[in-house]
């Protein structure tokens, strides 16, 4: 049996509250399923499970639980074969098993003890006895536990559960704690370059000219893709600093900093940016920003960023130097794109210019590597049709 744990949805999270279960005891779950809604300082997050099997022992709703607390048990696929031999739980219950009584779940660490009579009755009732709360000696699941469980009504799916936005004061605290940790622990170095955005702007204008508004691209999509292409060449900045060493990220999952109305900031990941086409990236970006603001971010989006990009948009300041979000090792910043005098072939011409910056963790890399990344971003933006 495997444990499904309260995920750490960012370096700044200490506890979370399950406010809704989207599965019930006895349901089959598979990797990537959203099984619970957990309320954090970043709002209500859809939490995915990364186990395959049958879920049970669901933690009670509304209780603040620390990161790493057991939220449920999952009887994994491999163990189900044992079940078919008649020595463990049935693989697929014929009817949904009831949820454990509130307050009894989520504490058992190891596989439950089940009395033979209880197991026999459970099998005939189609209940997974290992997922029940035992009241016998040493927490053994007894016949009466099984009978009691079978008698309980199946809980209704809680569709009307609260889906609240984030709490601004809590989010402020969380940002304070993560950023203080960053500035305390991470020796930042900073680099900046000004990039000629002329080619990219012309390409964007041509693309958008023929498009319906919903298919139009923003410079943000180009900046993301250019950063991903550059990181593929300079992977030393894509990953985590952890236990005294740099560990490269498992993919190019770029955290995109989204300012929330009313204050606050969240930087959820867009997964595999390098493998998305420009229209795919733009629609992922729109969807992500909308969910960041309205609620409905997924847990993997908060746990997976391998680097962060912050872009100030068309009304922002000229440039930005970010604070690294631990345990990441770098943050790329883009300022507002604005017309500037630019020297081309010995003559001064007006060009749209973009101030790009990098803050890097000096424990993981040096300025030379950081410079290579900015240079690679610049190069990528000069051939926008290849983004």
């Amino acid at each position: 049996m495997a444990d499904f744990l309260m995920p750490a949805l960012g370096a700044d999270m200490e506890t979370g509250k399950v406010v809704q279960w989207l599965v019930k005891t006895g349901d089959r779950v598979k990797r990537g399923d959203v099984v619970a809604v957990v309320e954090t300082h970043k709002g209500a997050i859809d939490v995915e499970i990364f186990l395959d099997g049958i879920i049970g022992d669901l933690a009670p709703l509304g209780e603040a639980l620390p990161v790493g607390a057991v939220l449920a048990h999952v009887l994994e696929a491999g163990q189900e074969h044992v079940a078919r031999d008649g020595t463990a739980a049935p693989a697929a219950p014929t009817h949904p098993s009831p949820a454990p009584a509130p307050g009894t779940a989520a504490v058992a660490g190891t596989r439950a003890k089940v009395s033979p009579a209880a197991r026999h009755r459970a099998q005939s009732l189609g209940i997974a006895p290992d997922l029940l709360h035992g009241t016998g000696p040493d927490g053994t699941v007894t016949l009466s536990d099984v009978v009691l469980a079978a008698a309980q009504p199946t809980p209704l799916p809680a569709e009307a559960a609260p889906r609240r936005g984030f709490d601004a004061a809590l989010m402020r605290q969380a940002i304070a704690s993560a950023m203080s940790r960053s500035k305390r622990e991470i020796p930042h170095y900073y680099l900046a370059s000004t990039i000629d955005f002329g080619e990219a702007a012309a390409w964007l204008e041509a693309w958008n000219g023929d498009c319906a508004p919903e298919d139009r691209l923003l410079p943000a999509a180009l900046l993301l893709k250019a950063t991903a292409q550059a990181l593929a060449k300079v992977p030393q900045l894509n990953g985590f600093y952890d236990k005294g060493a740099f560990r490269q990220g498992p993919g190019l999952h770029i955290g995109w900093a989204v300012a929330l109305r009313g204050g606050g900031l969240v930087a959820p990941a867009i997964h595999d940016v390098d493998r998305k086409t420009m229209p795919e990236l733009m629609s992922a970006l729109r969807d992500l920003v909308q969910r960041a603001r309205a609620g409905g971010l997924r847990s993997s989006e908060l746990t997976d960023p391998t680097i962060t990009v912050t872009s100030l948009g068309d009304r922002g300041a000229e440039s930005v130097f970010g604070v690294i979000y631990p345990p990441q090792v770098a943050i790329v910043g883009f300022g507002r794109i604005a017309e500037r005098p630019w020297v081309v072939d010995g003559r001064v011409v007006p060009r749209p210019a973009l101030a790009a910056s990098l803050a890097g963790d000096h424990r993981a890399s040096d300025g030379h590597i950081g410079g290579l990344l900015l240079e690679a971003i610049d190069r990528a933006l000069q051939v926008p049709e290849k983004l």
Binding site: N208, G209, P213, E214, A220, Q290, G313
Partner: protein
């Protein structure tokens, strides 16, 4: 489409993007992006929403006109 319809549509779309905004204090010539603190993504969503609700095709070249309510009314009543 009447001016009243256009203003209603614009207000509905903006309410989805900036729910806390008080549109009654918004002047006709104020830049919506500044008055309501809209970023480029918000403004794109505004243009998309206007197009979808009005059923009009809004060319990219016309979008700068949509930065004020006066411009929105002029652009959508054509």
């Amino acid at each position: 489409m009447s001016e009243q319809d256009i203003r209603r549509i614009a207000a509905e779309v903006l309410a989805g993007i900036a729910p806390e905004a008080d549109l009654s204090t918004l002047g006709d010539d104020e830049d919506l992006r500044e008055a309501l603190d809209l970023d480029s993504m918000d403004f794109l969503n505004f243009v998309i929403g206007l197009g979808q609700r009005s059923g009009l095709n809004i060319p990219e070249a016309d979008t700068p006109r949509l930065r004020t309510m006066r411009g929105v009314v002029a652009c959508l009543s054509q």
